[in-house]
């Protein structure tokens, strides 16, 4: 980091001056100015709809109709399509990668720019050698002749970078490159990005992950509602200040009193095990997991993907597939929950990982979704009492702060954050005693995230027992009073608030025998 920060941005490569853009009557960018120096990593942040993508599309020649001026090396330019931008050295890597999975790495890197022999045959030999050279420059030990489809997400991301290098990009824009990567893949990517920056490439890095940005970028620029709100060197910024700038209000650090210990236990499980022959072979998906969750406690479950986190929640909710072993009690009373129906009757609520596939009826209205699990209570002689339902729905929408046109709006038309709030409202309406949350903020704006965090803390204070599973370690640590860390189905330990850190969780979560992911061969 230090040698990185000391390398002062030398000369301006790219400047976007007073950029404004409207789509019809809607203005999405207001006079935004950005300047980028060689070797600089600029993190561009903002909520969805803040105008980040539009700005980047203008810079990379995708969006050609705008007001304002672009300069490359101080020379004014106006791109009319992506090729012109590429020719000028501006490349963009979209969130959804643009690779042909049936083709090799080298073919992908030189796609559309193949060197031809006699004007007909693709010069494979040259392509492979040239690709090898590019990959070496990035310190990536991938075989140029591997098919891209056989690569992992992280490796594919690296191929995209190589592709950008092949056109000798001097400005590289990366749109949420880590959203589909594992932690170790992220580390490799960061290494490559730093190397690129050291070699003089200017990088615009779009991300929602603040911790990533703090570690990687040397300046942050924040957009909100199409306006520039903040540009500052990373050294002058804190996590709270960035979030505050993004959502337009101050973020208070939430201080939770550790009051749950004196409160009664709501949910306790003992020796949970799950044997799923279809999915897991002989290994147990969960193996002897026991814990108690108190009223008012937020109990986190951490671990890598496939460590059994989700399966614990499914076990508790009666939705797990496979042979279940173990016991559980709700408010001291032992229960056996065989199906989600029984779980709902017992006062449990389960917010699933994938809200679109498992949480919501997307084309149905907000009201119908909220009322769905409570219909029995809202009906008489099998017929829904409309007035009662309308009241419940209004209460739900207001309770979690869903921003919508009204209860009749289709859920599918809402933003991810508002959809997730609808799922929460739907469960809160059933009056649960314990809330099971699987990745409660996946794919959600930072502002909505913060609102959901605050809502969860409020619910906990009112005595709800909350179990949270999350892959985002900062989130898990921020929310949880205690964190159970899982590894390959087994509980590795429980970390209380204050002791739980990303390092501590990762240490417990990583299998002892596993080898760290090594895509980088060079010792750089």
């Amino acid at each position: 980091m230090d040698e990185f920060a000391s390398q002062a941005p030398s000369r301006g490569v790219l400047a976007a001056l007073g950029i404004s853009k409207s789509f019809g009557a809607a203005r999405v960018l207001f006079d935004v100015t950005l300047s980028l120096a060689a070797g600089q990593v600029l993190a561009l942040m903002g909520e969805n709809g803040a105008g980040k993508s539009t700005l980047m599309k203008i810079i990379s020649g995708v969006q050609t109709d705008y007001e304002g001026r672009l300069e490359i090396d101080g020379e004014p330019v106006r791109f009319h399509d992506v090729r012109q931008a590429q020719a000028a050295g501006v490349a963009i890597i979209h969130q959804e990668l643009n690779l042909v999975s049936q083709m090799t790495v080298a073919d992908n890197v030189f796609l559309g720019r193949e060197s031809l022999i006699g004007g007909i045959f693709v010069d494979r030999k040259w392509a492979n050698a040239e690709c090898r050279r590019l990959l070496d420059r990035l310190g990536i030990s991938l075989d140029p002749q591997t098919k891209v489809g056989a690569l992992r997400m992280g490796e594919q991301q690296l191929v995209e970078i190589a592709k950008a290098l092949a056109i000798e990009a001097r400005v590289l824009i990366m749109d949420e490159p880590t959203s589909a990567l594992s932690p170790s893949e992220c580390q490799t990517l960061f290494k490559v990005i730093r190397q690129l920056a050291d070699s003089g490439v200017a990088i615009v890095y779009i991300s929602h992950r603040i911790d990533e940005v703090m570690a990687l970028a040397n300046a942050v620029m924040v957009l909100r509602d199409g306006r520039h709100v903040l540009t500052a060197p990373i050294g002058e910024l804190s996590r709270e200040r960035i979030i505050g700038a993004m959502i337009g209000r101050d973020v208070v650090k939430h201080e939770r009193a550790l009051s749950y210990k004196s409160r009664p236990v709501v949910l306790s499980v003992r020796d949970l095990s799950l044997l799923d022959r279809e999915r897991q072979g002989v290994r147990k998906a969960i193996d002897t997991v026991s814990f108690d969750v108190h009223a008012g406690e937020v109990f986190g479950i951490g671990g890598l993907l496939g460590s059994g986190r989700t399966e614990i929640l499914e076990w508790i909710f009666g939705a797990a597939r496979g042979e279940r072993g173990g016991r559980m009690a709700i408010e001291g009373e032992e229960v056996w929950i065989g199906s989600p129906i029984e779980a709902c009757e017992a006062g449990l609520a389960f917010l699933t990982e994938d809200r679109k596939a498992k949480g919501l009826v997307l084309h149905a209205s907000i009201g119908e979704n909220i009322a769905l699990p409570s219909l029995q209570r809202l009906s008489r002689f099998g017929f829904v009492r409309r007035a009662e339902q309308a009241r419940a729905v209004d209460r739900g929408i207001a309770g979690v702060g869903v921003r919508c046109q009204g209860p009749e709006q289709a859920v599918g038309a809402l933003s991810g954050g508002n959809q997730q709030k609808v799922v929460l409202a739907k469960w809160l309406e059933t009056g649960p005693r314990a809330l099971l949350l699987d990745e409660p903020t996946r794919g959600i704006d930072i502002g909505a995230k913060q609102e959901i965090y605050e809502l969860l803390f409020k619910l906990a204070e009112r005595g709800m027992a909350i179990v949270v599973v999350s892959s985002e370690l900062p989130e898990l640590i921020y929310l949880s009073d205690r964190i159970l860390v899982m590894c390959e189905g087994r509980p590795m330990g429980v970390l209380p608030r204050g002791i739980a850190s990303e390092e501590a969780v990762m240490r417990l979560a990583t299998p002892a025998s596993s080898v760290a992911y090594t895509a980088h061969a060079s010792a750089a």
């Binding site: 012109q84 009826v361 699990p373």
Partner: protein, 428 residues
């Protein structure tokens, strides 16, 4: 109202417009009687259309529910055939036949189960005292079974009356539908496969029930059967044909059920997202089984109406019926993916079909050509249904397209048109 608003309204109510268009077409081009009266619009013809569509319509109502949960029921045609065979046997042959020996216990069981379930549900809603809540439904169920057995058994030796026939045939249909549902849910199988299998084996069952050498069981009311069967064939007070009454009642009841009841909401939720519904604590399996049972029930009922209408019981009376019903449901705007649509659409789909074949018949169109036209109509209507008509703006653009010049794009980096650029004063 602006052009686009009119267009939108038209687009949203296109289902009704389709029916209206066909109706208007039929009336406009109808042949006239010798006295100059319009045949298509005559009361006799219109009630005839209603009569014709009632059997398909009844089946389509059950099919709508099954399709709404994201399923399909291919067995309804065979169940309808079996129902007509049951009706043929019960109405024309006294004594213990294959129909009465199997039908009476099934009817008793179904009756008992329905009374039990209904009463238990009502008691649950009213929070009656515990002992009553526990025993009353079972007792009432047994009582109902006993009463049914006595009532039907006494009709074995003479011949079955129309009420008992309706009861037995629909009970048999309901039982088969229930079996469909149970196999689908417990075996976690595709409804398509399960009901396809049921279609085949129920067809066989119908032939077995009818007996070796009777492809058709003729029914002559008043001579070989009780005259009461004509009650479900005649005009009610000379106003409406009796079969259409069954159809209309089924449409209204299922409309109420789908729109206002918890069951209906569950049906839509399951069709919309089964996994989300299951994880919301909804009894998905029970609801699915119930829809198949309802579909079977209505198919069995349709079998009796067929027997009364065409004066025969025939094992393969319903071959192709399932496809007609599915076509009507889909034309009515119900999505085959489930979760969207409703029974009113199916009513209209059925009527569109009915009017169409009536018009073709009035014009003496060759019956093979009728099939071709029917197929084309299905594709055409569904195209309009699924796709949503292009928006008003799009239509305009499409029409104007040839008159507009294309913008050309430069191939090289163009120099900045400095006049257009406004450099902000406070550029940092």
């Amino acid at each position: 109202m602006s052009g686009s608003a009119i267009w939108r309204t038209l687009s949203q109510s296109k289902l009704y417009w389709g029916l209206i268009a066909i109706f208007v077409f039929g009336a406009a081009f109808s042949p006239a009687t010798s006295s100059g009266r319009n045949i298509f619009l005559s009361y006799g013809n219109l009630t005839d259309v209603l009569r014709q569509v009632s059997i398909t319509g009844l089946v389509a109502v059950g099919m709508t529910m099954v399709i709404l949960i994201g399923g399909i029921d291919l067995s309804v045609g065979s169940i309808m055939g079996l129902g007509s065979v049951f009706a043929g046997l019960l109405l024309t042959q006294g004594g213990w036949t294959s129909a009465s020996t199997t039908g009476i216990p099934i009817a008793a069981l179904v009756g008992a189960a329905l009374v039990f379930v209904t009463l238990r549900f009502v008691i649950k809603q009213t929070s009656a005292p515990a002992p009553l809540a526990k025993w009353a439904p079972a007792a009432a169920g047994l009582l109902a079974a006993a009463a049914l057995i006595v009532w039907t058994t006494r009709q074995v030796d003479p011949k079955f009356g129309v009420l008992a026939t309706l009861l037995v045939a629909s009970s048999v249909g309901l039982t088969l539908g229930l079996l469909n549902g149970l196999v689908i849910v417990l075996g976690r199988l595709q409804p398509f496969i399960v009901t396809l299998a049921a279609m085949v084996s129920v067809q066989g069952l119908a032939r077995l029930t009818a007996g070796q050498d009777s492809a058709v069981l003729p029914i002559y009311p008043g001579s070989n059967s009780t005259a009461s069967i004509d009650a479900v064939r005649s005009m009610i007070y000379g106003v409406l044909p009796a079969p259409s009454l069954f159809f209309i009642a089924a449409v209204i009841l299922s409309w109420i059920l789908l729109r206002f009841s918890v069951f209906g909401r569950y049906v839509y939720a399951i069709g919309g997202n089964e996994e989300a519904a299951r994880l919301s604590g909804i009894p998905v399996d029970r609801v699915k089984i119930a829809t198949f049972a309802i579909s079977g029930f209505l198919a069995g009922l349709a079998g009796v109406l067929y027997a009364a209408q065409y004066r025969q019981g025939k094992p393969d009376a319903g071959s192709g019926l399932e496809l007609d019903a599915i076509a009507a449901v889909v034309i009515g705007g119900t999505s085959l993916m489930g979760g969207r649509g409703g029974v009113v659409g199916s009513l209209i789909g059925v009527l569109i079909f009915g009017c169409l074949s009536d018009i073709l018949q009035l014009h003496n169109i060759d019956s093979n050509l009728q099939l071709v036209l029917k197929g084309l109509i299905i594709v055409g209507t569904v195209l309009l249904q699924e796709r949503n008509l292009p928006g008003y703006g799009q239509m305009l653009a499409f029409v104007q397209q040839p008159f507009r010049t294309r913008e050309t794009k430069g191939g090289r980096i163009a120099p900045v048109e400095t006049a257009k650029v406004e450099v902000p004063n406070e550029a940092s």
